[in-house]
């Protein structure tokens, strides 16, 4: 079925569902299933308490993703700023009244479930920047004044999240934003100047903003073995688990490091380690391969899209997803500091799963509306 661009916007819900890239959804399912298996193992061979709940969350996530995907892309364009404002407001709320979870202030308890505004913000930033640049011409983007506002809009939530304190999400927000600015066509020299300015800003940041535990994490990252019972313990145990897994691993449910609790947080941040311990290099590479396929899909979807809004949004989602995966795996291998970031689709956790599926919903929405042209002024209801 080949629909013309103008017809596509008027598709029925059924038609839109038909347009969804189902092989991508299948790939998500396969990857999430790997996660179920690992959570089953993390509970010493039991679906309870993690694997079963994760399945329910993934199912809910798929549902959410499909809903997001079939909503008209113009709706996302139109409400992008509103979405950003709401997320920012929630972020301010947690700053003052959020409940304390894991020593950091990140959650809003709505009784039935909790929401994590920083997760919402990851999506909002993508929507915001896609919305801001969707109609900008290259000449506009080339002007520094045109770039000033989005940088400020990016910096506000970044500072708020950093204050929570959540270094991982902050880095993710900023990096995703930078990538989108880059793709929107911001001049290279702006980035160079930005980078120099950032290095200049790191020194006061180190001195006044970062908390001791964050500094400690950064420092022990450089030489974890120096403090094997203290702060370096997590990284060291993770490396031992990985390394002892060898080429083919110790076998499903046989990971001694994971099952004897030497590996911390095995169901969340360090789940990749557990996989690599039980299935070895082969298993770890297989999962990375699955992720690579997902990246390729996201890349292709973005490039294939005819609207700049869709392209930017697609690449934003894909970049955020990539950074999440990369930082987590690099972290458990001792390549980057332990910043507390789950592995997308695999780690146990409700909010992260839902927000991730939301963003995949946007990606699929881009795919569904790949041939829709979005002209200037479309955001205003034309």
């Amino acid at each position: 079925m080949d629909l013309s661009p103008f017809q596509q916007s008027d598709m029925s819900i059924g038609q839109r569902l038909w347009q969804i890239n189902w092989s991508f959804v299948l790939l998500l399912g396969v990857t999430a299933s790997v996660g179920f298996g690992m959570l089953y193992s993390a509970a010493n061979g039991s679906f309870d308490p993690w694997a079963s709940r994760q399945m329910i969350r993934f199912s809910a996530g798929v549902l959410l993703m499909l809903v997001v995907a079939v909503i008209d892309i113009h709706v996302w364009l139109r409400y992008a700023y509103a979405f950003y404002v709401v997320s920012l407001a929630l972020l301010v709320v947690v700053e003052f009244s959020g409940s304390i979870g894991m020593g950091a202030q990140r959650w809003i308890d709505l009784g039935v479930f909790t929401i994590q505004p920083s997760e919402l913000m990851k999506i909002s930033i993508i929507l915001l920047l896609a919305r801001y640049f969707y109609a900008s011409r290259l000449e506009d983007v080339g002007r520094i004044s045109h770039v000033f506002l989005p940088v400020v809009l990016l910096a506000i939530p970044a500072v708020l999240v950093l204050r929570q304190p959540d270094l991982g999400t902050t880095i993710l927000l900023v990096a995703t934003g930078m990538v989108m600015l880059f793709l929107a066509g911001v001049r290279i020299w702006v980035f160079v100047v930005g980078a120099v300015a950032t290095i200049g800003a790191v020194i006061p940041l180190w001195k006044f903003v970062l908390l001791d535990y964050q500094k400690q994490r950064l420092l022990t990252f450089i030489d974890p073995e120096k403090d094997p019972l203290g702060a370096g313990y997590h990284i060291l145990q993770s490396k031992i688990a990985l390394g002892s897994g060898g080429l083919f691993g110790k076998g499903f449910l046989e990971g001694s490091q994971s099952h004897l609790s030497f590996l911390p947080e095995k169901q969340t941040d360090f789940i990749f380690t557990m996989l690599a311990e039980e299935f070895g290099l082969v298993g770890g590479m297989a999962l990375i391969g699955l992720y690579l396929l997902l990246f390729i899909y996201a890349f292709a979807i973005s490039l294939r899209c005819r609207s700049q809004f869709g392209r930017l949004m697609g690449m934003g989602v894909s970049t955020s997803f990539f950074l999440n995966v990369f930082v987590n795996i690099a972290m458990v291998m001792g390549v980057v500091p332990v910043v507390g970031m789950p592995l997308p689709l695999i780690s146990y956790g409700g909010t992260a799963m839902l927000s991730l599926m939301f963003s995949f919903g946007l990606l699929l929405c881009v795919y569904v509306h790949r041939d829709v042209q979005i002209g200037p002024g479309a955001a205003d209801g034309n």
């Binding site: 880059f182 066509g185 990985l242 490091q257 290099l281 590479m285 890349f299 490039l303 291998m333 390549v335």
Partner: protein, 634 residues
């Protein structure tokens, strides 16, 4: 569409660069994974195993100590302990209260348990009580359901079935103290015991055995998940002693509550059949752990139970030394067996008067009569003529004034004075009066009961330099039958045999002639007769005034001021086999106190002699090496 062209070009170009960057980063991760999981895999596998595998030492069974007939003297018995495992109960106080209905649980116990719980992980057991009686164990087991977290555990602990009777030989085991640590991890096992005294200490290394190991898998909190490999240790070797436990018990009982010591040995082999020192102590108490008051009571007892008097008690030998003086005089030709001296009851030397124990005097005495009746004046006379150095030299040949290496720690060498010794130590010249005192075994001379038994053995075994020993064999725990003990060869001490025969004859007369000082303590059973010599040692100076007023009888004196009672003896008279030395501190007279004890013991040991087929405890004889064999070769 065209308007979008430049923008799209930039976007796609930059997207591709970006994608390239992602691929590059992912390759980096893959490389890192390869490095960790392939290149460094071995290192991390070792580290992972070190994490999960914990090596626990298994304490080996301590080897038994057996007497000469294989009767157990030190064994291991099951030690029932009550443990509390905190994680198995929701309410520790409730569980302890329930336990309190069966065994007394004090507030102190509850507090101690709570303190321990705070310090340690909740799955580690806390020892509430050790050495439980079987009754209580059974009642706890029956009621286990009502006391969550309370369990019974069986360990092994040292047990001395004859308690205190052999304490002086066995010694005891006790916990390892800081200074005992040698780096052997076995010593650091909680509850491990090592020999601290006696044979337990002498054979400690052999008795310990080899520790086993248990490889267990533990989790990050130290909880044992499962056992991976178990290598049982090797139980300790068994020590067979020369001691006859039944005789040892008899002797200890016979000495009663006196501060006394007795040594019985085989005159040919040097095997010590009994080494008793009273009062004794209960070695089981040391293993259990002494309370402060128990320790004080032991340490402050004037009869010093912790001192092994048989080897560490040094006494003037008194008249039991007279055989030594006689042999020295005979050897140098100063007297012949026929030489006579006249005893008036005293001997004057310079300004001093030396008294015989018999105020009225013995009249004309030859050597045989002088020993039989223990005439002091006769020995003053021959000692004066022989000289201290010759007497001392003879005493050394007979085993005195030296360490005899009886294995046990704390053995004393006594003292055999010479002129040179006095000059060197006291810085004054030897006085002739001191030689006279030495002639009756008083003055500087000091001997141990063990030395006296050895002296007697050498006198009656044909003049062989027999040395005493307590251990027959130390054999591996699984040895089928202990090999017969080797028979030691002893050199002769070079005394003219007729002289020894004369001494033996005189000693036989002491208890078998109506004139003898130990006639009342003779053995009447034919073939069992004993020979010996009494000794009574003054522990205070008798002043001239007192002597004139009439010397107080021992029973009228304070315990501390009474004479020591000694007896050395052998039996049977016809072919001497056993020698004995008995010392009763402040016991009164040698003939009244020590001789009857020695008689009873010598009678018992001969009755028990398995070569006569009269030993009891037949079940225990299973592995006994026959004594007769030993005798023939010795």
């Amino acid at each position: 569409m065209h308007r979008d062209g430049d923008r799209y070009k930039t976007f796609s170009r930059r997207s591709i660069i970006l994608f390239g960057g992602k691929i590059f980063l992912l390759s980096g991760l893959a490389g890192r994974m390869y490095y960790l999981q392939v290149v460094e895999a071995e290192k991390y596998k070792t580290l992972a195993d070190e994490n999960r595998i914990s090596l626990k030492l298994l304490a080996p069974k301590r080897g038994r100590i057996l007497d000469r007939f294989g009767r157990p003297m030190a064994v291991n018995q099951q030690n029932y302990r009550v443990l509390l495992i905190p994680e198995n109960t929701k309410n520790i106080e409730f569980s302890l209260a329930q336990l309190g209905k069966i065994i007394p649980v004090s507030e102190h116990d509850v507090q101690r348990a709570k303190r321990e719980i705070k310090r340690r992980r909740r799955f580690l057991p806390i020892i509430l009580r050790e050495n439980m009686a079987w009754n209580d164990v059974a009642r706890i087991e029956v009621n286990a359901a009502e006391m969550p977290g309370i369990t019974i555990d069986v360990g092994e602990s040292r047990f001395y079935p004859n308690g205190s009777e052999a304490a002086s030989v066995l010694g005891y085991v006790s916990g390892v103290s800081e200074k005992d640590l040698t780096g052997d991890p076995l010593l650091e096992l909680p509850g491990f015991r090592i020999g601290k005294a006696g044979m337990e200490k002498v054979h400690d290394l052999a008795l310990r055995g080899k520790s086993g190991t248990s490889q267990v898998e533990v989790n990050a909190f130290g909880r044992v998940i499962r056992e991976l490999e178990r290598r049982e240790g090797l139980p300790g070797a068994e020590a067979w002693l020369a001691i006859d436990m039944e005789l040892q018990k008899f002797v200890t009982k016979r000495l009663g509550g006196e501060a006394a010591a007795a040594v019985v040995m085989d005159v040919h082999t040097g095997e010590v059949l009994t080494l008793a020192s009273t009062p004794t102590f209960d070695p089981n108490a040391f293993n259990r752990g002494l309370s402060q008051s128990e320790w004080k009571a032991l340490a402050s007892n004037p009869r010093s139970p912790l001192n092994n008097k048989a080897i560490a008690g040094q006494y003037s030998p008194g008249s039991t030394f007279k055989m030594v003086v006689a042999l020295a005089a005979l050897e140098k030709g100063i007297i012949t067996p026929k030489s006579q001296f006249f005893c008036t009851g005293e001997l004057e030397l310079g300004d001093s008067t030396f008294h015989c124990w018999k105020k009225t005097g013995h009249g004309t005495m030859d050597l045989l009569a002088a020993i039989t009746q223990s005439c002091d004046v006769y020995f003053y006379e021959i000692a004066k003529r022989t000289g201290i150095d010759r007497i001392s030299a003879m005493a050394r040949r007979l085993g005195m004034g030296q360490i005899l290496d009886i294995e046990l720690a704390g053995e004393q060498q006594g003292l055999m004075p010479t002129r040179a010794w006095k000059k060197k130590v006291k810085r004054v010249s030897w006085q002739q009066g001191e030689t006279l005192l030495a002639g009756i075994g008083q003055g500087f001379i000091l001997t141990t009961p063990l030395q006296l038994a050895v002296m007697t053995a050498r006198l009656v075994n044909g003049g062989k330099a027999v040395t005493p020993h307590l251990t027959r064999q130390v054999v591996p725990f699984d040895a089928a039958d202990p090999p017969p003990p080797s028979i030691p060869e002893f050199d002769t001490i070079g005394i003219h045999p007729p002289h020894l025969d004369l001494i033996k004859k005189a000693m036989a007369a002491v208890s078998n002639s109506p004139y003898g000082t130990a006639y009342r303590s003779r053995i009447k059973e034919p073939g069992f007769q004993l020979g010996g010599k009494t000794g009574t040692v003054q522990v205070r100076r008798i002043s001239k005034a007192e002597r004139e007023a009439g010397v107080k009888k021992n029973k009228d004196l304070e315990w501390r001021e009474r004479d020591h009672a000694l007896f050395v003896g052998y039996a049977p008279v016809k072919s001497p086999r056993y020698s004995i030395a008995v010392v009763v501190e402040h016991g009164g007279g040698g003939s009244s106190t020590a001789a009857p004890i020695a008689k009873d013991i010598l009678l018992e040991v001969q009755r028990r002699d398995p070569s006569r087929g009269q030993a009891n405890g037949s079940a225990a004889k299973r592995r006994a090496a026959p004594l007769t064999e030993v005798v023939k070769k010795g």
